[in-house]
Amino acid sequence: MTAHENNIEQKLQQLAQALESQDSIIPGVMSRIEALPKGRPGKHDNQKSILMIRRIIMNRFTKFAAAAVIIISVVLAIGVWNKSMPAAYALECTIRANHGVRYIHIKDFKPGQSDPKEFWIEFSESGEVMNARLDFPAWASADGEKAVVWKEDKAKVWFKKKNTLTTLMDKTVATQLLEAMQQLNPRLAVERLKLQQAEGKASVEIDEPADKSKPIVVTATYPPQGSIPGRRLILFVDPATKLVSVVEFYQLKDGEYRQYGLTEYHGYNQPIDPAVFALENEVPTDAMRVDQTTQEIGLVQGRLTDQEIAVEVVCQFLQALIAADYAKAGRIYSGVPAELLEQKLAAVKFVRIVSIGEPTPSTFNDSLKVPCEYEIEADGVKSVSQSGIYVRPVHGQPGRWSIDGGF
């Protein structure tokens, strides 16, 4: 065996060790199988006919292609409560309970990271999200550092690294922020903890110091056999306002509770400067601006598999470039303006597609990487270029896929 082989084997063994630290999933899988309605694996009599239909569809739909997606995830270090209430009802409760909160500024810290995620939220008098801004440091976003402002189901995302401002339809931010408010709203938080304690899901201790300058400390501990085993939350409540100011998150590991998150709540009802919710003043004038709300981005997936649509997107994109159809190519490429694309590619003529390979999952987000080769001509010289083009579902345009990122 050569030294190189030894090295590879060693690396693979180290990888195996890294994966070994997890608890077995066998009990979980087998209990889910036991709970299936049928005792035996389902019979799929129509399997062959489905396969046949899919093949026919594949052949007919080879002209379909893709779209671009930008995921906005709020991702606070929360979500630790049992979701015993239906989501819609819980959100309704939150909206009602938010009546007294008009403005809030949240900072979400993680161990080892100095910069927190930060959120600014303005609520209407009826408790619904009116304006929001979400700042993500590089560690918290696969897209690199970014800022998002949201209003009326429309989000503007400034990708600082890419120097791109993208406007897109979004219905997720408000819901996520309302869910976040469920965690921090003192009335809901205490109600939930009491309910969980009554159901035996958590034990709750409240330490209210005689010294009124010190915060009330609410500690909720979840038992090892519960739905969130070994979790502990410590809420610090301002004794004067009865508002939660800090939540610390712990997990039991090897007999001790280790902190894995901390969320701070600032500026209750202190009006937020409207400029915070206006990104335009911060985005450099030379940034690329893409508006996905005025056009359909990418291609419809239809009944194609993710892999098939990814290939189709790349295929149609390259075909559009070969045909110098920059409007179409721009739509497939996240909605990049045709003029800009034409300008960027002015020195290059796309001649033909040489090959498009099998898509593989991206290692950094939910996109698929499609390897491809195409012939280009620049300065009268022809050459074959190789690329890995990333294709993702379009955020806010369900069922559509587009190219995301460079190529």
Binding site: H4, E5, I8, E9, K11, L12, Q13, L15, A16, A18, L19, E20, S21, Q22, S24, I25, I26, G28, V29, M30, R32, I33, E34, L36, G39, R40, P41, G42, H44, Q47, I71, S73, V74, V75, L76, A77, I78, G79, V80, K110, P111, G112, W139, T172, E179, G230, R231, Q251, K253, R258, Q259, Y260, G261, D306, T360, P361, T363, F364, N365, D366
Partner: protein, 174 residues
């Protein structure tokens, strides 16, 4: 040691518990495939569970029982991609636990992530033997038995896979 094909037939004949042997055998490879997509231990575990349950449900549709391993990997990849696309926010909200403390953010370190991504790019047959051999800690003979291939074939596939991985890691400067 029984082959995948033999265990698959037992499950299809109603021996539900035999499926546990397949879960045990492929637990780490499945987790690895999911982790390569999701890059988060907990989400990967959820996707791995989903993949096994889906595989169980779809088992009658598996035309070549000997191909159980690669088929399961495809299902896993699909489950992980579904998870990545459908529940990124909720899952991220709920899945920050102790493992994240140990590996900073619940992910493999970059070198291991690169290696895992390289393994995921191997042809299916080679990926299966690499995963069974190293992630499943099986001997070459055992891998051959599980996959229903000869020892010679498995040895060649391992050797080719080593070569491909070396090349890929070199390209990645690892």
């Amino acid at each position: 040691m029984q082959s995948d094909a033999e265990i698959t037939k037992m499950v299809l004949n109603g021996e539900k518990q035999a499926f546990a042997a397949l879960v045990e055998r492929y637990e780490r490879p499945v987790r690895a495939v999911a982790l390569n997509v999701l890059r988060d231990y907990h989400r990967a575990d959820d996707a791995a569970q989903d993949a096994f349950v889906k595989a169980y449900e779809k088992l009658p549709g598996l035309r070549k029982p000997a191909a159980f391993g690669p088929w399961l990997m495809r299902i896993t990849r699909r489950c992980a991609l579904d998870s990545a696309r459908r529940i990124p926010k909720r899952a991220s909200l709920e899945l920050q636990t102790a493992e994240e403390i140990e590996s900073r953010d619940g992910r493999l370190d970059p070198d291991k992530q690169t290696l895992l991504a390289a393994v995921a790019r191997l042809p299916e047959a080679e990926q299966q033997v690499i995963m069974l051999r190293y992630l499943g800690s099986n001997s070459v003979n055992e891998v051959a038995r599980i996959a229903g291939r000869s020892v010679g074939t498995v040895t060649k596939q391992l050797s080719r896979a080593h070569g491909r991985l070396r090349k890929m890691l070199k390209e990645a400067d690892l």
